[in-house]
Amino acid sequence: MGIPADRLPDETLLAGLGAGDAEMAVAFVRRFQRLVYGVAVTVVRDPGVAEDIAQRAFEQAWRHAQVFDSRRGSVRAWLTTITHNLAIDVLRVRTSEPVDPAELPALLTAVTDTPEGFAVARDRASALRGELARLPAAQGRAVAMAGIYGMTARQVADAEGVPLGTAKTRIRIGMEKLRTVYHANDASPKDMGDD
């Protein structure tokens, strides 16, 4: 007796999806649909649009399953990136104000809350979650606006009513703090080089 499809590794299900195996495709969609839809609806905040984005994300996974390389990252991260890129594309076309800063505290609370029920709960992700929670509020908002909603520094500055330089600094310092934590255990972390 074989292993049920829903117990197969992510990479195997993805390969099955790419090969057109209906059973594995169903298992793949079931495993990742909450992740994909969650990313999409968080970014665009419109259920109908989010569903279309999520469908397209699975379609792209199906189209490009054969070029996925697990040495480059997990299926989850790959699918998340696909979905996020699609959502940002849509967001940028639909509006010049991707997010109301007033909505950001709720999002930041959601992503920095306990890992239970969230997309990733690995150690590195937990460290990132903790560091994000520790960022000064303005830096956290700037990182979220740029990293999640794809807003430029200019858009962040406009949304926050601060000079462009201030917005750029918030993004830079916030991301640098997150990078330090996220890559803390890398074999040979490098600092910025000299000229």
Partner: protein, 269 residues
């Protein structure tokens, strides 16, 4: 011309570059710097993966009922499903011609957004292979991968602010060309970036004195014929757009209003 920036200046924009939100001249300058700096390349790589980690924190959510069936129908593993479909998921059937239908789909096999992911992953792969004794050849390869990554990242259809303009030029020796976008009164109103390696892509930033609504981006072929490649919205004269730009030779680009009026042109000869 791109400005030669040092690591300090690059560090000011590295996070924005990694998150795909750096535009125009700053992006071009940053790319030029990356071509010769392994340390900053590594920094951008780490910032990029950090940004991906940030996305991994986003909360999951239950999709609408029938989502699974509609996805399967979309990729040819089920018959067409009405949206919104409610109730139980429909059992999938074996795809007799799934691969055929996939291969027969028209258009670019790789959308801009996927190119970003793919290129980023290529970059990661390149870097993982890069040993401590970094050879010049390897460095060029890695730099090229990052150029592809960040250029592709630029090509997602922004609604952003414009950038400083400059004359038509190639950025360093890369396949990235750029040209000034000028209005009918010969005023600089933006910039066009055209990437010619492999599948062709373009990215246009516009900074007109005023104007709202949809504008159309067209590319000019050697015979003077214009082909529409995309559209985007201007807000108070500002906007930008990026996307695939066909496969044939291109000599110029122009921006056309919804009423057919040519708003600006650029020469890419």
């Amino acid at each position: 011309m791109t400005k030669r920036i040092g690591c300090g200046e690059f560090g000011d924009v590295a996070a924005e570059l990694a998150l795909g939100v750096l535009t125009g001249r700053e992006r071009a300058d940053a790319l030029a710097h990356l071509e010769g700096c392994d340390a900053c390349l590594e920094t951008v790589h780490q910032l990029t993966t950090t940004g991906e980690g940030l996305l991994g924190l986003l909360p999951e959510a239950e999709p609408p009922a029938g989502f699974e069936s509609r996805v399967l129908a979309r990729i040819g593993l089920l018959g067409p499903q009405p949206a919104p479909a409610a109730g139980r998921e429909v059992a999938a059937r074996r795809p007799r011609r799934a691969r055929q239908s996939r291969q027969s789909r028209r258009g670019s096999p790789v959308r801009p957004s996927w190119r970003v992911s793919s290129a980023r992953q290529s970059q990661q792969s390149q870097q993982s292979r890069q040993s401590r004794q970094s050879s010049p050849v390897r460095r060029v390869l890695v730099a090229a991968a990052v150029v592809v990554a960040v250029v592709a990242a630029a090509l997602g259809g922004w609604g952003l602010r414009g950038a400083a303009s400059h004359p038509a030029q190639a950025v360093a020796s890369s396949p990235l060309r750029s040209a000034e976008l000028t209005s009918a009164s010969r005023q600089p109103v933006g910039e066009v970036f055209y990437y010619t390696a492999g599948q062709r892509w373009m990215y246009m930033t516009v900074d007109l004195p005023s104007g709202d609504g949809t504008v159309i981006c067209e590319l000019k072929g050697p015979g003077g014929h214009y082909t529409r490649v995309g559209s985007f919205r201007l807000a108070a004269g500002y906007g930008s757009w990026g996307g695939p730009a066909g496969y044939g030779p291109v000599t110029g680009a122009r921006l056309v209003g919804a009423d057919g009026r040519v708003l600006a042109t650029a020469s890419l000869s």
